[in-house]
């Protein structure tokens, strides 16, 4: 993968990158959130998976176009795992899109306590030169 850019999802540097996941990351860098769709049964996955959970057929990446979601649940992490200690406190939220698909990410611009059911907007961030992410804004 020498030609490919070194990219990581989120706040850590998991090296378990595959060609499929690399494609996801390169799209994300272009501010496109990709889901995946099973080529056999059509089931959609967010976040994407390369093999269908139901029939183990290959899935293909396609852009997830919904931008607005509702807060399904949240946590404010005050005491963090060691690698994220310097970032705490941070808010982790499960957002639910109108389609029912969900995504787990940080909410980065909260000024008051989160409330289940509140509106969330999908956004993107470059954490540093190699780390990129999707995130929620209120």
């Amino acid at each position: 993968m020498s030609e490919e850019k070194e990219l990581y999802l989120g706040y850590t540097t998991d090296k378990a990158i595959t060609p499929f996941f690399q494609d996801f990351l390169e799209a994300l860098e272009q501010e496109k959130l990709m889901k995946s769709k099973c080529t056999k049964c059509g089931t959609e996955y967010l976040p994407p998976r390369e093999y269908c959970q139901k029939d183990l057929s290959k899935c293909e990446l396609e852009e997830h176009t919904e931008k607005e979601a509702k807060l399904y649940s949240y946590v404010i992490v005050d005491f963090a795992p060691e690698t994220l200690s310097s970032k705490a406190p941070y808010v982790v939220a499960i957002g639910e899109f109108p389609s029912g698909l969900r995504l787990t990410a940080h909410i980065t611009n909260l000024m008051s306590m989160p409330e289940v059911g509140m509106n969330l907007k999908l956004a993107f961030d470059k954490i540093d030169a190699k780390k990129i992410t999707y995130k929620w804004l209120v």
Binding site: Y8, L9, G10, Y11, T12, D14, A16, F21, P47, Y72, S73, Y74, V75, I76, V77, D78, F79, A80, P81, E82, T83, L84, S85, K87, A88, P89, Y90, V92, I94, R102, L103, T104, A105, H106, V116, G117, T133
Partner: protein, 388 residues
């Protein structure tokens, strides 16, 4: 037809921050009382020796180390791992081998040594049991997974945090009377309700402890039980369940699907229902987990678990005594030892041997252990029956 299997003896180390011991010495402490009762190494056919996470010690293939240390180096052994259900998964594996006739007498020993690393490092290791690609990069610790359940539960059932604090008060009330407990002291409602936040809405007193400790039990086939005890505790029902890996994929966060499934299977196998249970040891890794357990086990309707708390039905003289040893909250939670410790506690209660009468539950005929791994990916429910 499977043979009947009973728990015939048990041992338990002191739980706590055990800087005076490692997994070796802790294991010896758990096996010693069993040895002293006469169940010496030569009487044990095989062992399951388990711990949840090797990162804490750096020791690979640790069952060999433990077996050797307690004098069982020449007996077959293996390690079973399933996060915080490691203890009951080991018991389930051993039960299968004895029921099938492969062995007659087995030792099941669970141990964890967690305090040789900082709490932040321990939190890091445990968060690596989340999905490494999609969850771990967002710093979702174990308290965070349960806080996601708590936020949703509090929203759907309009429940204040007070209810959770009352569960912590009960756990510490009983832990204070358990000489084996990690943090044996009472806490007031105000202290528990207003403690420092860990993963809001959960605070310090909603969390179980990071504990070093070990527990062991011996199980035997029906035709050998009399050689060891006249007070056998029969394994009457076993149920296991599982839930999706990523927490966002759960249809509901107010219940653990694998726990409901495990409970149903255990009740069916035992031929009993929730009303027949005289005491329960539930997996209160967080106070919200204990509340959800009341509902998943059928002690309360969905959303009504708080009534058990408000009416103190979960105290030792109540309708359904729960965790009258302090639970994971006050007794402590050495991951791999926890499920074995639950089994040990039920045996002690049945025998009327809780060290302190103020936590002794009267006349226990049926006891239930509910052991959950990760945020519900693994669940085991055991129902034990007094055999005398």
């Amino acid at each position: 037809m499977a043979r009947k299997v009973a728990v015939v003896a048990g041992g338990h180390s002191k739980f706590g921050k055990r800087y005076d011991a490692t997994m070796r010495e802790l294991s010896a402490e758990a096996y010693k009382p069993i040895y002293d009762e006469g169940i010496t190494q030569d009487k044990i056919d095989a062992t399951v020796l388990s711990y949840a996470a090797s990162q804490f010690t750096g020791q690979g293939a640790g069952s060999a180390l433990i077996a050797d240390y307690i004098g069982l180096y020449d007996k077959p052994h293996l390690r079973v791992e399933s996060a915080c259900t490691t203890g009951t998964a080991s018991l389930r594996a051993a039960w299968g081998m004895v029921a099938a006739g492969l062995y007659d007498v087995m030792l099941v020993l669970g141990v964890e040594q967690m305090n040789r690393v900082s709490s932040a490092t321990a939190t890091e290791y445990m968060s690596q049991a989340g999905d490494m690609r999609w969850e771990y990069p967002y710093g979702i610790s174990f308290p965070a997974f349960y806080a996601l359940m708590a936020s949703r539960y509090m929203h759907e059932y309009d429940m204040p945090h007070d209810v959770l604090a009352k569960i912590a008060v009960k756990s510490h009330h009983y832990g204070a009377q358990n000489p084996k407990a990690h943090l044996p002291r009472e806490v007031s409602f105000e202290e528990a309700n207003n403690a420092i936040p860990i993963c809001r809405p959960l605070n310090l007193y909603d969390c179980s402890l990071i504990t070093d400790g070990a527990a062991a039990v011996v199980i035997a086939a029906e035709d050998r039980v009399n050689e060891f005890t006249d007070r056998p505790m029969w394994i009457k029902g076993i149920g296991a369940g599982a839930s999706s890996m990523k927490i966002q994929d759960r249809e509901s966060l107010t219940s653990i699907p694998g726990a409901k499934h495990a409970a149903k299977a255990a009740y069916e196998m035992a031929g009993v229902g929730p009303d027949d249970i005289d005491m329960a040891q539930v997996h209160d890794c967080f106070t919200i987990a204990e509340l959800i357990a009341y509902e998943d086990l059928g002690f309360a309707e969905p959303g009504k678990g708080r009534e058990i708390v408000e009416n103190k039905e979960n105290y030792h003289t109540g309708r359904i005594p729960v965790n009258c040893d302090g639970g994971l909250k006050s007794k402590g939670h050495p991951l791999g030892a926890t499920g074995v410790s639950m089994t040990y506690e039920i045996m002690k209660q049945m025998r009327g041997e809780a060290e302190n009468q103020s936590r002794q539950i009267e006349d226990v005929k049926l006891g239930l252990a509910h052991n959950v791994g990760q945020s519900g990916q693994f669940v085991n429910v055991f129902i034990f029956e007094r055999g005398w």
